[in-house]
């Protein structure tokens, strides 16, 4: 192993920060997201499939591909080039925490809409919540199972994280794998419930706010699963060390965030709103 004494200090930059080099991905993601959004808007407004299909699919595929290429770049910069010094990692952590705060307020706005409509139910929906003739989901059925599944996944991800900190590769892989399996199980149960629900997104403000809140949460579950999945692949490929695994830590933070939002959803929307 080389010692720092054998290195010429002036071959390395004199500051710990990572000044990123030109990259095509910010431009690519802008174009892809624009295409994706336009496709989605056209779809929601009933434009012909010949127009919508190509735009929507192109937007989706390009967004997914650009995310992959960009995040692969970041991974290589951190893992293979060693650009992520302690200061850079701190910046990544703070950036992610700020992102979580902005996410929190997205959910605050959705919950605001829910309580606005449910606490003093309008006369148009019968003055009651759930609205007249709406059959809400049984909170003691699949939603309760989903709560248990998500809380369990929170404990398995903690097990995996502690195994990483203790340099136990076997258990860290098992912990993450179990979490991902539980996450996919949760998504499957939500899909099953959506398919079998007696109301749609067009059935009164109840349907709208129900699918908007649980759907937004479901999208976050998908993103969280993706983060944990990429961390799993990186863990198997020896990217992480016991003290430097910011990608995994961000995924874990995100997963706990999704977990907590579900608890609020379960109590407010499924339990209080369904009885």
């Amino acid at each position: 192993m080389l010692s720092i004494n054998n290195l010429n200090r002036s071959d390395f930059q004199y500051h710990p920060y990572h000044l990123v080099t030109p990259s095509p991905w910010p431009l690519m993601i802008s174009i892809s997201l624009f295409c994706f959004v336009i496709g989605a808007v056209l779809y929601m407004h009933g434009y012909p499939y010949s127009l919508v299909g190509a735009t929507f699919r192109l937007g989706f595929i390009n967004t997914a591909a650009t995310m992959y290429f960009w995040l692969t770049d970041v991974t290589n910069e951190g893992t293979l080039n060693g650009d992520h010094t302690k200061e850079v990692v701190k910046g990544l952590l703070i950036g992610f925490l700020l992102f979580l705060v902005s996410e929190l307020f997205v959910f605050v706005s959705v919950f605001w809409a829910y309580f606005h409509s449910s606490l003093v139910a309008a006369i148009e929906i019968g003055g009651i919540w759930p609205p007249l003739a709406i059959i809400a989901l049984d909170p003691y059925g699949i939603p309760l199972l989903n709560t248990i599944v998500l809380l369990s996944s929170g404990s398995t991800v903690t097990m995996g994280h502690h195994a990483v900190l203790k340099r136990d590769r076997r258990y860290s892989i098992w912990g993450l794998l179990l979490t991902i399996i539980l996450a996919i199980f949760f998504t499957g149960l939500q899909y099953f419930e959506y398919v079998n629900a007696t109301f749609t997104i067009a059935d009164s403000v109840f349907g709208s706010v129900f699918y908007c809140s649980t759907g937004l949460h479901g999208l976050h579950v998908l993103v969280g699963t993706g983060m944990l999945l990429s961390s799993f692949v990186r863990l198997v490929n020896y990217h992480f060390t016991d003290s430097h695994h910011q990608g995994l830590e961000s995924g874990i933070l995100y997963w706990h965030f999704v977990d907590v939002v579900w608890l609020f959803l379960y109590v407010a929307v499924y339990y209080w709103g369904g009885l």
């Binding site: 290195l7 010429n8 500051h15 770049d73 060693g82 860290s172 992480f240 016991d242």
Partner: protein
């Protein structure tokens, strides 16, 4: 002094510098540069993790991250993040020394004691001392890098 000892091995340094300059002219993305037939070798790397084991930073950290780690293990700071000496006003005979690995460095003066006046930024070059236009404090570049390096 760390910096003096660091300058000991010149040939290794030159080789590393060359590769650093090559990687500066890089492809559109980091990944393609790393995966290409001639990827720039990481300047420093450890033995890596044993199969079936989760690595420590000491085993696996590379590049600048490893430099920081090695410096920490020696009890020195690899990066200069402390503010410049503002305990006195620099004079022509005894200017404030500004350590630099490049032939020029951006200096911000707030006078002596610190924050006595609004910050004044100026470019300090190797061959010429500069005076702060506000408080008159003189600064001199203490150049410790290669004389021929002029990238970034």
């Amino acid at each position: 002094m760390l910096n003096a000892s660091l300058r000991a091995v010149r040939p290794v340094a030159l080789r590393v510098t060359r590769s650093a300059q090559l990687s500066a002219i890089r492809a559109l993305s980091t990944t393609s540069a790393v995966r290409s037939d001639h990827p720039p070798p990481p300047a420093i790397f450890g033995p890596g993790a044993k199969p079936g084991e989760l690595a420590t930073d000491e085993q696996q950290a590379t590049g600048l991250e490893r430099l920081q780690l090695l410096a920490e293990m020696q009890g020195v700071d690899a990066f200069d993040k402390a503010p410049l000496d503002s305990s006195r006003v620099g004079t022509l005979e005894d200017p404030i020394k500004v350590f630099s690995l490049d032939t020029e460095r951006l200096v911000g003066c707030t006078g002596s004691p610190a924050d006595s006046h609004d910050i004044h930024w100026f470019q300090l070059r190797k061959d010429k001392n500069r005076r702060c236009p506000e408080c008159g404090s003189v600064y001199a570049l203490d150049h410790q890098g290669h004389s021929d390096v002029h990238h970034h």
